[in-house]
Amino acid sequence: MERSRLLSLAHLWAAFLCFLPATGLGLWQLLMRSPLPVPVDDPNAYYASLTAHGSIMAYVFPTLFIMGFGYAIAVSALGRPLRGENWAWAGFVLCVVGSLMALAPIAGGRSSILYTFYPPMVGNVWYYLGVAVVIIGSYFWVALMLINFAAWKRENPGKPVPLAMFAITTCALLWGWTALGATSEVVFQILPVSLGWRHTIDAGLARTLFSMTLHAIVYFWLIPAYVAFYTLMPQAAGGRLYSDTMGRIAFVLFLVFSIPVGMHHLFMDPEHGSGFKFVHSLLTFIVALPTLLTVFTITATLEIAGRARGGKGLLGWIRALPWNEPMVLSVALALLLLAPGGFGGLINMSYAMNAMIHNTSWVTAHFHLIFGGVVVIMYMAIGYELWPRLTGRPLITKRAACVQLWLWFWGMLIMTVPWHIAGLMGQPRRYAIFDYTDPGVAKMAWLDILSVVGGVILVCSAALFFYVLARSSLASAAESISPIRYALAVNPPARVHPLLNGFMFWNVLLLALVLITYGYPVGQFFFLHNQDAPEHSLTREMKR
């Protein structure tokens, strides 16, 4: 058990260690885009920084965090040592080595292709190899989660798999499936070109394969946050989970519906017809459902806790909740950020309305609310929840943790609300600099300055988060720390329907949906002619 604690701790430290500098890069990028004076005023450095910020925040930080959290759940929820711990360490080493391989060429400015790759632009080969190695490392984790899940089920026939383990295994499966899109793009299309074996790329096919990963990866990030909603928050609030079954349904819906919707990122692309664009838009509406179900169940759970603590009346239970508990506070803040973030998402996925905001700052604002807001605030709360259990030392202090969470919440709102407005005014995303002498651009100056203020608050909050964890790690060991206890449901299930206790059926359904929704869109490229584009090497451009 001692070693498995170290395993989770290593993952979480590595995740947070790259998170902190990545927030600093984000702030510098905000300054570059604003009319304010900025150190190192260099557009080339901006695109390198943007690539590093995106690659760390999208691939390295969440993947390492989720792996560490997954191992912690497997050990504590199943109450047995982790099977294959040495393999887990091997996966960890691969992820760290891969991250360093990918980050080195970015730092050298030789792979400023953003984390979305954008072939036929081609960066340094080590970037792609690094990303591939990180994905391989994460597949070790996927396999281990499935093995531990299956082993527990064999030993406990007929019993419901604990909700936390069930949920984090859907997360692992989802990642296992969805990473195949970006992996095929890198392995079959980009690597052969960056190694010099081929010289052309079908950009349309590359964008389509990437879209398979691009949306579901958000649910890969999000599921651990929902795991905390369903299984950690009710205990912290002093209550019980409203419905265990609804949790299982929500997680299964995420697994099945978050991949066959990816083409809503390609609404404005010329390589697909509107038929399949519409199908993906339709299915995107379905994937909104598990989130809406979760909002109800979690609010009901909070109410149960509030009333158990003596809260009365229509809204009196809200005041009775323990707002000094980081886990409770973070869930409320996450739900508040989910409202505008989710609302923006409904607009983005709406087939025709998307044209208003496609590739404007609105989109950047949307995913910062969902990922930077909902997901990261819950990762922080999970960090606070796990830290004493992993280090054996008390958190110093819960009060500082709550201040930190509030700062993150306000920083995220102050940064993203102006972005939404600027996006509607026609501000493109991914611009290193703006010409503020242009009257149309000058109108947005105050919005960009306000975003910088939000960014400063976020960096302060990230630093405080890091300080609380580091300070707690150095505290003297506590005499006793209660182990993680997962929430009981109001009506704990004695047994659950076999469909909600395993994944075979859902895997088959998912495969069928992927074949239906991506079969033709991917297959068409093998029957089109002339569309292969010559590679465009970034390093050659730099020499020019």
């Binding site: 459902l289 149960i304 087939y351 569309q531």
Partner: protein
């Protein structure tokens, strides 16, 4: 107090049937809301022709400047033999060719763009004319601008180190003024604006 619900006595605090009934009602309500939103999307899509671009047309990015409709002399605004207006741009690192184009107000205009190098994108001012330009493919979108004026048309997809400097202008003039312009004047008028 916090331990209140952790003992076994708390089981069944809310009867299973109540939980199920409320969850089912919420599910129904949310499915209805999403269904209505989807209906609006379908309705506006059909009645106002608000569909994303739909034709899949390929073009060889290596030879498009030598032959076919995207040779330099054929770029810009063209009045077709049937009187319809087509506006062709080449999107390349880091400029649009031409840099500026004149189009008539209140008229359906066919935008046709492609790229000889990497992926680009464009949108026109604050309108919803917005699309990707992917090398190997022709982007074909319809647009109508009701209000005369000069619209900035920036590249809106990352295309390399000069991405932020890539933009063109679309000048919308009243229909009567447009019909008076000779083809070569469409270019000179644009420069003067």
């Amino acid at each position: 107090m916090a331990e209140l619900l952790n003992n076994e006595g708390a089981s069944g605090l809310i009867p299973e049937e109540t939980v199920e009934r409320t969850e089912r009602r919420w599910l129904f309500a949310m499915a209805t809301v999403l269904g209505l939103m989807l209906a609006v999307v379908v309705f506006t899509g059909v009645t106002q022709m608000m569909n994303p671009l739909s034709d899949v047309e390929t073009i060889n990015p290596a030879t498009l400047h030598l032959q076919g409709e995207f040779v330099e002399s054929n770029l810009g605004t063209a009045v077709e033999t049937d009187g319809s207006i087509t506006l062709r741009f080449l999107a390349e690192q880091y400029t649009f060719v031409p840099q500026c184009a004149v189009v008539p107000a209140g008229t359906l205009i066919r935008f046709r763009l492609t790229s000889p190098d990497v992926t680009h994108g464009f949108f026109v001012g604050t309108t919803n004319t917005n699309a990707m330009v992917v090398p190997g493919y022709v982007t074909n979108v319809m647009a109508r601008f009701e209000h005369p004026g000069t619209y900035t048309m920036p590249c809106d997809e990352f295309c390399g180190f000069g991405h932020h400097a890539m933009a063109a202008s679309v000048v919308v003039v009243p229909k009567e003024q447009f019909t008076k312009l000779r083809p070569e004047e469409r270019i000179t008028t644009c420069g003067a604006q």
